[in-house]
Amino acid sequence: MKKAIISVRNLVAKFGNTIVLDKISVDIYPREITVILGRSGCGKTTLIKNILKLYQPHSGSVKIFDEDIIGMEDQDFITILKRIGMLFQNGALLNSVSISDNIAIPLEQHTDLPRDIIDKIIRVKLELVNLDHAMNMTPSELSGGMKKRVALARAIALDPEILICDEPSAGLDPLTSSSLDELILKLKDLLKMTIVIVTHELASIHRIADRLIFLDKNRVVFTGSLEEAKASSVSEVKTFFKAGRFE
């Protein structure tokens, strides 16, 4: 049995008095692609943001790289954050600076690399998402799909050990979406990244998923491999594979 790189135990997340996640336990294993699924609004984004302490968990424990992060000092947590890349659901690019500066920011913040090295990194990361021509544009000049790809380039700017993508292919055309999948596989196979993806695209899941986590009604209803999921008797999982979506 592999050892988990992210390990969530009995996590409870609330907004006000509404419980969004009710005692959730989840394990993410290194060098795997874990797909998180569930109806929209079931708390996938909330789960991710709790893991990254962007929201403060109500109770429970979260361990990343074997360290308990809940009570951790901010200073120590930053060293953990440096090893994690996050692609937000809406891209979340900074609108006031250029594409290349958007990618430069994490590099400037977290390293002492000189400018010419940073420029080279920016170029190659943008090439990986096929957007090197957009380097000097601003986010407002890009389409939604392009923004997502830039956001992915920013997420992998620091070659993180863990990459988390919140609905990376939502709103992308199938071609771009499958080239994104290829890139993600490359990141896993060649760079040995651990990847967590929220997605509902069945095609994408077939291409990339090593392990699936289904959320429903504030809880985890299924975890396992793709084969196990297809054979599962959990009704939520069955419906998803039958219809290709949550109705």
Partner: protein, 355 residues
């Protein structure tokens, strides 16, 4: 890092955290002697490390050192993170001075043409709009008048009162020396009516309403509302700008009248308390000195300023580029430009009518 028999040996981790020190160490090495870069002792490499390799190969481009003895996985990573483009040392096509001047002039000329087109559009639809209110926001002239006019009365009055006081105080001491106390009335009347009233009001309106107009239009543009209007076959100029244009045409002369009146009251305070003039003699002098021409030109001028403010604000508003930060930028630009043009036009006006 070690240099042995023309081979540069790199060791350990070559990543974003170790690259800065490795670069420093590299600077101290005799470059000519490096013919190979040996990676056999590299444990891991990331994109910063690959960029570092590229960077030292750039620095050694004369004899282009070969990379040797890299492990398979290191090689793969290097391949992923090596830029596919031969880094073209950016050779921008330089335009010569005349081309630069030429394109700058064309750009400027285009903006002049655009702003005149916009002005024509605004004026045309404002006149049409008096008779036919289709395609304008309902009730918007009244709302805009309230926003531009009534809400500005307070600040215009306050500043005009202070201005009247200052003008009177500054001149009072001099006038008293010559026993010419009564002329404080002339001075206040003329300067408030001809210059200070219209000018100050225009600057306040440019700051308050001009900026509001520019940022409203810019925001609508950025959030694609303007495009939505066009999709619904509504002329954005007619819908957004015309009501403001009509409202400001009515409000500006009224505001200026208030400003002039309050400024004169400011002068009166000094005249009565410091120069021992009576209220009656102060006003008698004022009515004697002011001509119809002065008042008319003053008010006409203010209407003209108002138009300039709206046109410049909408010109910049429609020209917005980028997202939310673009809105701030064009708003600032529009206020600066409208105050600049108000002052320039005021100077031209003085030359024409009073010189």
């Amino acid at each position: 890092m070690q240099l042995l028999e023309k081979k540069l040996f790199l060791k350990g981790r070559l990543d974003k955290f170790t690259v800065p020190e490795k670069l420093k160490a590299f600077q101290k090495l005799p470059r000519k002697e490096i013919h190979y870069i040996d990676l056999s002792q590299i444990e891991m490499i990331d994109s910063a490390g690959v960029a570092f390799l590229e960077s030292i190969r750039d620095a050694l481009s004369e004899h282009d050192p070969r990379i040797i003895n890299a492990r398979a996985d290191i090689k793969k990573t290097i391949k992923i993170f090596t830029s596919k483009k031969v880094i073209n040392r950016v050779s921008m096509v330089r335009e010569n001075l005349f081309e630069n001047l030429g394109s700058a002039f064309l750009l400027w000329w285009k903006s002049v043409v655009d702003s005149f087109k916009l002005s024509a559009d605004i004026v045309f639809w404002s006149i049409v709009g008096i008779f036919d209110r289709k395609g304008q926001r309902k009730g918007s002239v009244i709302v805009q008048s309230l926003l531009i006019g009534v809400d500005a009365v307070g600040i215009v009055s306050l500043l005009s009162l202070v201005l009247g006081l200052i003008l009177a105080l500054q001149s009072a001491a001099q006038l008293r020396q010559f026993g010419a106390n009564i002329f404080v009335a002339d001075l206040i009347a003329i300067s408030m009516v001809r210059e200070m009233g219209p000018m100050m009001t225009a600057i306040i309106v440019a700051g308050r309403s001009g900026s509001a107009i520019a940022s409203e239009i810019a925001t609508m543009k950025v959030t694609e509302e303007i495009d939505a209007l066009k999709m619904m076959a509504i002329d954005p100029v007619r819908y957004v700008v015309v009501p403001k244009f009509q409202a400001i045409t009515i409000c500006m002369p009224l505001l200026v009248t208030v400003s002039i009146f309050v400024g004169i009251i400011g002068g009166l305070i000094v005249a009565v308390t410091y120069l021992d003039l009576s209220v009656v003699s102060y006003f008698t002098e004022i009515f004697a000195i002011l001509t119809f021409k002065d008042v008319f030109i003053g008010l006409m001028k203010s209407v003209f300023f108002a138009w300039v403010i709206v046109i410049i604000a909408s010109y910049y508003g429609f020209r917005v580029k980028g997202g939310s930060e673009g809105v701030g930028r064009v708003t600032t630009l529009s206020v600066v430009a409208s105050i600049f043009w108000v002052i320039v036009l005021d100077a031209i006006n003085s030359l024409i009518f009073y010189f």
